[in-house]
Subunit: 138 residues, 3 copies
């Protein structure tokens, strides 16, 4: 069994931001030389998500709107922010969007459905963040 590990660094510009990391994960898979296996992609931060959805900017705004309407940023709403933080909402938003995705690797490719794209979702950005890729297989 082979294994491969790589971190991707992301320079987030906004508090809330979705960044398409599909090609970076594809590059990591090529580098790994793994043909058949599983590929884990996870946010290394607990106010961020990795998720698979559509590469469509209107939908991304719909996600942001839903999250803001249902889990508002307002720092006064969260006990967590009594510790001096302002990101209580970001920890909850990340649970909705998920921490990680696990993808099949088949024939040396990410085994995607027709419209699947991998996103890093940041909910407390404006700084450098990391994504972990771990691939195991043969």
């Amino acid at each position: 069994m082979k294994s491969f590990r790589k971190e991707i660094w992301i320079d987030t510009k906004n508090r809330v931001e979705f960044i398409n990391i599909t090609s970076s994960v594809e590059d990591a898979l090529t580098e790994s030389q793994i043909e058949e296996g599983l590929c884990l992609v996870n946010a290394m931060h607990i106010t961020a998500s990795v998720f698979i959805n559509d590469a469509e900017s209107g939908l991304h705004q719909d996600f942001k709107d839903w999250l803001e309407n249902n889990i508002p940023h307002n720092p006064d709403l969260y006990r967590h922010n009594r510790t001096g933080e302002t990101n209580g909402d970001a920890h909850i938003k990340r649970q909705f969007m998920g921490r990680e995705v696990v993808l099949a690797v088949s024939g040396g490719k990410l085994d995607f459905g027709p419209w699947e794209q991998i996103y890093y979702g940041e909910f407390d950005g404006k700084r450098k963040k990391r994504v972990l890729i771990k691939i195991i297989g043969d």
Copy 2:
């Protein structure tokens, strides 16, 4: 290390529908001849989910009601639908219910807790859809 890949095709009849795929995943595991490993089951569509929960029709209606009350179908609410789609809600509902499950394989069986059943959750159906099963192990 062995690996096994199989697609399940599902003929969805309704826009929103939950389909128990447990026995199909069990059949795939038998076919794979893998005894110890991990089994990934994911929706290949970005308006659908694979999740594990109870085989109880009242609960399924509770899920549908919660999703509709909190992420309404109304196509006017979503920017995504300006592209001509009507499924903005379905992309968000899928994030709540999740894209995939990863199951342990132990002693040649899916290593389930007492009531775990695997479901395909469709939020934009009335057509043929696919689920991917990938199993790796020995």
Copy 3:
């Protein structure tokens, strides 16, 4: 390829409760002697979650408050409870928080980001519950 399986038993005292299981998972990894691979940690119950987030009690209360405000316990609200259950809300809360996490194993350690801690989240407790750990790799 090696594989390792372990169940953790948890004696939940409250209906809703979050329990840090990070050190139990680390102990299982040590016991497994696996250096490179993937580690699945899942709730074996369909009214419970395993998730990764912050070890901060104010945030845990924020999670509980958000879940109770958005998915209230009130047993009258759920069709599932017509079966005699009172835990309809717990099945839905678990979908928000997630069933499982998959972690990279690198150099014999859980490959954590800076603040990641693994939690068992119970939404229908006051009894003994189980978490499954499955690790595969070399």
